[in-house]
Amino acid sequence: MGHELYKESADGQINPLSGRKSFYILAGLSILLVCVASIFGADALIKGRMHVYGLTRDIPLGLLIATYIFFVVTSTGLCIVASIGDVFGVKEYMPIATRTVFMSIVMILSGFFVIFFDLENPFRMAIYNIISPNFTSNIWWMGTLYVLYTFFMIFELIFLLLYWHRLAKMAGLAAVLCGIGAHSNLGAIFGMSHCRQFWYGPYMPIYFIASAIMLGCAALIFFTYIAYRLANEPMEGPMESAMRAIGKLTALMICILMFFTIWKIITGLVGGEPKRVAILAMLKGPYAINFWIFEVLAGMVLPLVILLKFGFKNMKTLFYASLSMIIGIFFMRYDLVVIGHIVPVLYELHVREFSGLLSYTPSLHEIMISAGGFGIAFILFLIGEKFFKGHKFYIQ
């Protein structure tokens, strides 16, 4: 049945995206973003990154790392959501299978694009990651597992397109295991940084996985809705049903993330002085708008209210909820990286040089390269929609 569907789709006469103006406008803008970002990236490469980025000795990671995390969070979340249908056999999730897996690959590639411009010597990494591995390094595990994850996801996609379910399931399982391993290691990069109290502890790896599932759901709703809008097609019944299921999972994940956030604040306020200072900077200091307006309101409260008030059947409200979440979660990642740095590591030495909060403003280079990551994500998404003709392989 599935194979017939694939053939039907592959042999279909109509390509729903051909000739649509909105498609080409969006594609043109995305390509433009990527080109501009590449120019800024090349400039950073020539001038030296530390000279053109807003980073300092005290805040060595900023917007680019936050954007990278955002993309890999999305990718991992999409992979986990895809596995519900592909690996664990929940049929309701099958219509989303190929788009989810494809977008998961797209997101990790967007992440790689951004991190390429953050790493000072990315080519050395390709060499020394293999010939001089450090098995105690979270970055080594994250990088290695994400490369494996990308390969497994590509294989999963190929097997899904060929309707080789058994192999797709095996590749999907391997991908989800690598993805969770890689992503929790990304969380552990922060969680194992003992001198940064805002991050330190087992919370980070767990939080990263929970927020990945939430963002994966939001991204899936977001891109599926846009795909159907661009194609100007009504959503098929099974796809609508899958979207409803994803919507419910999204609501659950928002509640879990709210729970995580509340306890992070409560425990942080009774922690050591640096952690308390960082938490207060987030609650009522320079990052209060980011936290309350974007993280809390846009990222969690508003989408939850939309989902609960309008239910899970209205695709437009699902889309608005997902858009709100995506914006909110981007700020969550940015705040997580930056607020972790604003209290100097030598704060408790009570020296004049490190007596106050540090500040960070992203440079134009960082902003443009980050925007280029979104350009990559959009152009690959559009190419995918066109190439795979709207991902209709498992609709029935």
Binding site: G48, R57, R124, N129, N134, S137, E348, H350, V351, E353
Partner: protein, 237 residues
């Protein structure tokens, strides 16, 4: 009278231990002696470096002239935007008498360095012979994770070297070229920085660290990185 004097001494010691005068980071004095005792038997077995390069900073001898910073920059070609060593300033408004003191900082050459654990490709490593935390500049991928996890803010990215740079006790620029002490130690006009070998019982550094009469501490002991840079105050031994 005797009781009153003892009480005062006791209170003074208490203030020193809790760090009121030493910046909240005092580790030493008898109660926690084992933690700072750098060469107990177990310690020597675990960290068998020879020479075990180490430094003691006599904090109240530092006058904040920053000649050490300048000498370091000149010797090791440190660019203007970076530093391998710094002299920080602490101002204690409520203190009686002297209200200001200086805290020289550099890489602590930790025996359990978080940077070495975190480095993706072993570009930073603990030298097996000397215990110095070294950099292999050619390997550094510039992920900056070592800067993230260093509790002492001892690292910076050197755009000219295309790698992270840090203090190595002038190993490549002086110690392997016949000089006995790093540039900062040589430049210090007051002798606030004492450099030596922690594995040699006759060495001055060894003697300072292995006594209990005068407080010796490390910066941020709660990080448990087992630094090889120690701090002390008071009358020179």
């Amino acid at each position: 009278m005797v009781d009153e004097m003892r009480r005062r001494e006791f209170l003074k010691m208490g203030l020193t231990i809790t760090g009121v005068f030493a910046g909240g980071t005092v580790l030493s004095v008898v109660s926690q002696f084992d933690k700072v005792f750098a060469s107990s038997k177990d310690y020597r077995e675990r960290y068998p470096y020879k020479p075990h390069y180490s430094m003691v900073i006599h904090q109240d001898l530092c006058i904040g002239c920053e000649l050490c910073v300048k000498a370091c920059a000149k010797t090791n070609h440190v660019p203007e935007y970076g530093y391998r060593t710094a002299v920080l300033e602490r101002h204690v408004e409520d203190a009686i008498g002297q209200k200001r003191e200086f805290v020289p900082m550099l890489c602590m050459q930790c025996n359990d360095p978080p940077c070495v654990r975190a480095c993706t490709v072993k570009a930073t490593y603990k030298d097996k012979k000397t215990g110095i935390v070294m950099m292999n500049y050619d390997k550094c991928i510039g992920c900056k994770i070592c800067m993230e996890v260093c509790p002492y803010n001892a690292r910076y990215y050197n755009e000219e070297k295309h790698a992270i740079d840090k203090c190595n006790f002038c190993f490549d620029t002086r110690l392997t070229k016949g000089k006995k002490i790093p540039a900062c130690v040589a430049a210090c006009p007051t002798g606030a920085r004492i450099f030596g070998d922690l594995s040699d019982p006759e060495d001055k550094v060894f003697k300072i660290v292995h006594q209990i009469k005068q407080p010796v501490w490390v910066v941020l002991p709660e990080e448990d990185t087992k630094p090889n840079v120690f701090y002390t105050k008071g009358v020179l031994l």
